[in-house]
């Protein structure tokens, strides 16, 4: 009942005309960035971070959440209609969705993606509503050693478990941690790696890194390597699902939601694993004629499941962000940055100190999901028109917005030079297949983890034994070791099996 009352207060705050408008603009903008290739939710939120200086906190968080959410809906449109996914989360959707569109079923694919997103997003929001307060209550009991271990877990999963090469993931993580070191040390106030440049005393802005790595690098990459790539666009058919489509989609949505939600809750980051898992599950469970559609005409389950999993993960990722202050993806890392701009540190106290804000944000998720369903089903034709913008004009236009984000943050032309340098770094990383999420997560979480480590060591009076004397902390150490070691043992075993089978 207490939760229900709190949620109702949240609705009262979120439903004011101004906040509704922010939510709508955020959802529309998010859908647009999701649809447009070359620009994702992380960079869209990053470019708009300067508004935190002027816009009231509840309004801007509702706005950012709308972008975060909307991009997930919009991304599926691009991956179904174009041969390039709009953002990584919809890579799996692209596999079956694109095939469905090629065989004239684009409308059904778009419909199952949008309705599935709504379905999963809403269920996951209910789970956030019900569970986040309990997680927060539990998290209050955690001390610095546990927090440090949780952050270590986030670092490990984002760099060593996701992505292809652990070496390149770790390199990216340490580059991010190094960037996070620049500036004044939070505990002693001493300058680190400032190189005598006054701008560096304030540290490197997260906006710069996100906009540089994602937007500027994307443009540079496009001009270097993708000039002559021609996208083929599939024809949009009537957005409609037959009775048989519904019958096949509903169980896939349910399974997708069930797979996606737990992945969002744990600091294991990213939507790649749950979406792939959901796809594999659907493929395995399909029978007869439905099974034959996978990889050929395109099976609707292969769109419905992963899209639901994607949205469930993204929504549930708000639980670790709001209750522990631990981001598990690029976009949540930048949302954390937005909170920090207001001097708010997400964590267990957030539910008591900023209860109004948190509940308004959660209420806005319910509202946003409804808005997005309307924006994406009847109005999908409008968004598809965005795909007609020619690439040169689109990418050059992105640079103008990148300038606003980078310059607007602290009005310094120095940042624009730095932005260029980070862009070049981003191109090199992309060319040599280094993941970028560890850089952003490392940079945002690095200073927080360092502070927790030093506090923990102070509690232990200078001895690292403190990490081994507390049950929660040692459990987390075991989990960290398990996520590093188990996948490798599994891989070695399957390799051996393959070898044995092969000869």
């Amino acid at each position: 009942m207490e939760i229900f009352n709190a949620l109702m207060h949240g609705f009262a705050l979120a439903i004011t005309p101004v906040n509704l408008l922010w939510c709508l603009v955020g959802c529309a903008l998010g859908t647009a960035v999701g649809v447009l290739p070359g620009i994702g939710p992380a960079v869209a939120v990053a470019m708009l971070l300067p508004i935190t200086a002027k816009v009231e906190v509840t309004a801007s968080m509702i706005f950012f959440a709308g972008i975060y959410y909307g991009a997930m809906y919009g991304g599926s449109t691009t991956s179904i209609l174009l041969n390039t996914p709009g953002e990584t989360a919809s890579m799996v959707t692209a596999m079956e969705g694109n095939k469905m569109a090629k065989s004239g079923r684009a409308g059904a694919a778009l419909a199952t993606a949008a309705i599935g997103s709504f379905f999963a997003g809403t269920i996951a929001t209910v789970i956030v509503t019900l569970f986040a307060p309990y997680v927060a209550e539990f998290a209050v009991k955690l001390g610095p050693p546990e927090y440090f271990m949780l952050m270590l877990l986030a670092f490990t999963t984002v760099s060593a478990v996701l992505g292809k090469s652990t070496l390149r993931g770790m390199t990216a993580l340490f580059v991010g941690l190094a960037a996070g070191c620049v500036g004044l040390d939070q505990i002693s106030g001493q300058g680190r790696y400032t190189g005598g440049i006054p701008e560096f005393l304030d540290g490197i802005e997260i906006v710069l890194v996100a906009v540089g790595l994602f937007a500027v690098a994307e443009v540079m990459y496009a001009v270097l390597y993708e000039g002559r790539v021609v996208d083929s666009q599939n024809k949009l058919s009537r957005v409609h699902m037959s009775a048989r489509d519904w019958k096949r989609s509903i169980p896939a949505w349910l399974r997708g939601t069930a797979i996606g939600t737990p992945f969002g809750c744990i600091p294991a980051g990213g939507t790649e694993i749950p979406t792939f898992l959901s796809y594999a599950t659907e493929k395995k469970l399909a029978k007869g004629a439905d099974r034959a559609e996978f990889g050929n005409q395109g099976a609707i389950e292969g769109v419905a499941g992963p899209e639901a999993a994607n949205n469930a993960t993204v929504t549930a990722a708000l639980i670790p962000l709001l209750t522990l202050g631990i981001p598990t993806s690029n976009t949540t890392a930048i949302l954390l940055g937005a909170f920090q701009n207001y001097g708010i540190q997400p964590g267990p106290q957030l539910f008591t100190t900023s209860a109004a804000l948190v509940w308004a944000l959660i209420a806005s998720l319910y509202i946003g999901n409804v808005m997005l369903l309307v924006l994406n089903l009847p109005m999908v034709g409008l968004w598809v028109k965005l795909l007609k913008i020619p690439k040169p004009q689109l990418y050059a236009g992105i640079l103008i917005f990148a300038t606003v984000g980078a310059y607007g943050m602290r009005q310094s032309a120095f940042d624009l030079f730095l932005l260029y340098g980070i862009g070049v770094l981003g191109v090199v990383m992309r060319r040599f297949d280094f993941p970028t999420a560890p850089v952003v997560v490392g940079m945002i979480l690095g200073p927080l983890a360092e502070a927790q480590l030093r506090n923990a060591m102070s509690i232990g009076e200078g001895s690292a034994a403190v990490f081994f004397q507390r049950p929660m902390s040692i459990t987390l150490i075991v989990i960290v070791l398990a996520v590093v070691i188990l996948p490798r043992i599994a891989k070695a075993m399957s390799d051996r099996k393959l070898k044995a089978a092969g000869g």
Partner: protein, 176 residues
């Protein structure tokens, strides 16, 4: 790592080696910087120089390891480098010029003009990279200037007037 190190010759041998050397140098540079950071640890036993040392040592090791991977058959778990198209350096120079001139001129000539210039150079570079023969025609140039203005001016007004974010102008009127 199941790929045999002696498989196909690594077409990316030198670029990959340079990446490794770059990472290694950053690691060493950070270590050099870490020497100057105080180790004053207080009660914790862990001072402000602890994380910098961890990061610099880790990056140095990563750099060395990357060099080793590059020299022994190429980066692991990566698609064959032969598939990469030749980079279009000409287009890259146009885009770079746009971005760097923007950084250099923004405070002098204001957001709108500076961003229009950036847009113009970038779109020209992208058109050339895409092999558009019309890129050089005066009509395209005029069109690109107009498009640049049509994007940057409303952006400038929206951010300065509605959101009250300071962006540099050529004049103090807030309109240009």
């Amino acid at each position: 790592m199941t790929t045999s190190p002696t498989a196909a010759p690594n077409a990316d041998l030198w670029p990959q080696t340079f990446v490794g050397v770059g990472v290694l140098l950053v690691g060493l540079l950070l270590a050099f910087g870490a020497i100057g950071i105080s180790s004053e640890a207080g009660y914790g036993g862990v001072g402000p120089n602890f994380l910098p040392w961890v990061v610099s040592i880790a990056l140095t090791i990563c750099g060395a390891w990357i060099i080793w991977e590059a020299r022994s058959g190429g980066f692991r778990e990566m698609e064959a480098s032969g598939d990469w198209p030749k980079p279009d350096w000409g287009g890259f120079v146009w885009v770079s010029a746009g971005l760097l001139l923007n950084a250099a001129l923004i405070t002098a000539i204001g957001f709108i003009l500076s961003c229009t210039l950036c847009y113009l150079l970038a779109v020209q570079g992208l058109r050339r990279a895409a092999g558009q023969s019309m890129a050089n025609s005066p009509r395209t140039w005029v069109m690109d200037v107009v498009t640049g203005l049509l994007i940057s001016a409303p952006v400038y007004w929206a951010f300065t007037k509605f959101l009250a974010i300071n962006l540099p102008g050529l004049t103090n009127t807030g309109w240009l």
